[in-house]
Symmetry: C3
Subunit: 351 residues, 3 copies
Amino acid sequence: MTTLSVAEGVPEARNYPYNCWWVAAFGNEVGRSLLGRWLLDTPVVLYRREDGTVAALEDRCPHRQAPLSIGQLKGDTVECGYHGFCFGADGSCVRIPSMDGAPPANYSVKGFPVKEVGPLVWIYVGDPSVIDTVPPPPELPWMADPGFATQSGRMEISANYMLLKENVLDLTHLVYVHASSFQVADWTDPPEVISDSETVQYCQRFVNSPLAPGYALSLGVPPGTPWNREARGAFLSPALHEGCVDFQAPSKPESQPARFRVVHAATPVDQTHMLYFWMIGRDFAKEPEAMEHLVGVISKGFDEDRVVLEAIQAHANRRPRRGSTGERSVKADAAGIQARRIVARWMEREA
Amino acid sequence: MTTLSVAEGVPEARNYPYNCWWVAAFGNEVGRSLLGRWLLDTPVVLYRREDGTVAALEDRCPHRQAPLSIGQLKGDTVECGYHGFCFGADGSCVRIPSMDGAPPANYSVKGFPVKEVGPLVWIYVGDPSVIDTVPPPPELPWMADPGFATQSGRMEISANYMLLKENVLDLTHLVYVHASSFQVADWTDPPEVISDSETVQYCQRFVNSPLAPGYALSLGVPPGTPWNREARGAFLSPALHEGCVDFQAPSKPESQPARFRVVHAATPVDQTHMLYFWMIGRDFAKEPEAMEHLVGVISKGFDEDRVVLEAIQAHANRRPRRGSTGERSVKADAAGIQARRIVARWMEREA
Amino acid sequence: MTTLSVAEGVPEARNYPYNCWWVAAFGNEVGRSLLGRWLLDTPVVLYRREDGTVAALEDRCPHRQAPLSIGQLKGDTVECGYHGFCFGADGSCVRIPSMDGAPPANYSVKGFPVKEVGPLVWIYVGDPSVIDTVPPPPELPWMADPGFATQSGRMEISANYMLLKENVLDLTHLVYVHASSFQVADWTDPPEVISDSETVQYCQRFVNSPLAPGYALSLGVPPGTPWNREARGAFLSPALHEGCVDFQAPSKPESQPARFRVVHAATPVDQTHMLYFWMIGRDFAKEPEAMEHLVGVISKGFDEDRVVLEAIQAHANRRPRRGSTGERSVKADAAGIQARRIVARWMEREA
């Protein structure tokens, strides 16, 4: 048993690029009051301007360092709750109550670029001078497609965000972590993996394989009915993962598949905590009762993931701690390992 | 956005002198039982001798390091709760039950000089060899003046003590932090500031200015009545701040003013925690019901301060944390900045 | 008052040898489910094989570092709850669900040697290459002797394990810590101490000394009856301390004494926490009601110790913290100091 080692898989140093678009919130979390949130080691305050667009500022008054989020939103302006300094939506200081005339130019806070894409609010907290070189947030048309019924949720998880990224890139965990929730028993082999320099994707095809009860229910056939499905999952950026399952009746191989989609957006709060935003959608079984049932199963399942990831992180957090024999990987980790390499390149670019 | 910086205003290193008199307790907290308290990175046990005077010892038995405060007070002697070592009120070890004869001289604990002045118990935990060069505790006659009705309270605040000192030296925060409690709407301009090498004082005069509801109630006139008042606040030592408001009817400019007084004594527990002792007094509206009402308003208001100070400190405590653009000051900070300089000189003197 | 010093008695560096047998659990805590436990900075999972013998493995899957203890026990095999990797009771990886064929040899976890001796399960988490040079767990025949009635308990104590070891080697604390529980008033003098390179033992003889109420009750005589007793206590290893009291009626000096025994096994979790396993036994007053009463008194007494030890450790854990005048020892500490020296030699041997 060796001493503590970085080769154990749980990162011991920052592994999230600042120069990247990340999900800050669901759009429906942001309104006409101040929402304070730590993201990427950075205090952020979010709100909607009167025209409905989202603004994001450094959540820390440059005067005496109070979080602006304990202040007031007045029009498009944030008023600090301590001495009333006011900041415009771009971060510029527009009023200092105890001072006559215009505030000095450098009494501003950082304003962070924001993009609202479908139900997600994206933020860029990195170096402004390189923002044009940074890939834009991935867009997933189904998230705003009225042909899909969708649901979403948010969790705080006390674990490094890459633990979640790797979790959703290796679904051989379904059989163990989600034995009682998703009940998918046939995901045992490592999938095919395709990657390029910025993304990695797995693909797994199931032919005439018995449907798990949840799948069968949504498709209107008895549990265990042999069915065809193709599952794909893609690391689209450090911030976003998309999972897809296309279902097709074996008797109708040429028909349009029934489509299930899921987004996993894991935003680091710091090295050992993340905000986890998820959204699911499908273009079948869209009735409210069916969707409500689906959300129940999904919530239970994602909570099972949380328990595992937090247990791993809690172990890694212990000090003193004797190191393990090191990390051992298998073919099913191919996509996750590729994802780590992509993230390492992001980190190198901003070093 | 720079990396973590000491220029942000929240201290990253010790900023409280040990060689200084600090408030350890209210006199009525100290009696014939042992009161353990961490003050200035130092464990302290306080009690009253049989003659009523206060004693303060290092709260840690030199034998096996048990806190003496979990032991027993016997006469003027503290008996350790672990093996019964006994210490006199000067810290000398007077009995070791398992040892015949007198204990060795160096089996003592530190005894700390104490002064009881009015309702406050002061302690000196610093270098004994320089105590004569250290200014004595400031005395405020009104605290023991029967012409004043007084009330007091104590809070534990998870913030560096200087955050409170600066808070009470810049009352432009009244309008924002205490909008619903004190309701003082006219404190917008920076006050006049006077300082010397050891103290700093602000002075603000309000002429024919509408009285806040609380002020008006105590003076027996309708809220909003134009009135004259002079507000002063003084950093008298790192340990003590005095605030004063003198009220005078515009129609009787030569009359004796109605006097309101407040003491803020913030004693560092450590770098990010303080004990906050406050006392208020006035020589008008002294009936019990009026004072009770005042205490309710004051308690609400000081709790509003606590929320702000703890939010600032909690932000500053985060690790990792990306630094701010730095601290930006305005004229209203003049007194607070002067106080920092005075404290810096205290620190230099003991370096 | 000096700065923080290691001379204060509360260890500031690891003071527990890994190359030593330690108590991991009571036998009746370990069964056919997985018991995860941090011991000696090491995650351990314990369980019983189908043949009833105890197995102990590193509680951390080498794949993605999940604690194995959140998985399943299947036969003698532990299945990881994350991706289903299976490990035999010796730690070898016997199955990887997503991989055909036998797992690579180095995909194993550490298996820790275990010995079950009477009611105790011992573990060795140290260097396997030197295990033969390490003394075996001490055996205490009375623990499994049907002539003794026994009871046991376990506590988690937030203190360094040596604080407990020293506590039980200096019973002059009885008079102070346990004044209201054990009520032993006559243990004031330091006992005789005998030591060799690996053990240290004290011996205290009481002749015609009034019996404490608990002792008297168990012997069937009135409290305060003069009686003879001999109390001995032995540091048998860093892991185990045995205490003995032999009672003898003054009128029957040649008779077989009534024997009371106690084991204190303190296993470090880390530097500031321990698991404390205790067992008591006696060959008299063995009726269930008498033993139940004894357990009540013992539990109260050991909790009094916990309060003191945690108070000492909590003081020592404070940062920043001004150091004490240093540790001062007396003759009654002779056995404890000898124990520290023995432990220091254990540490040197594995350095």
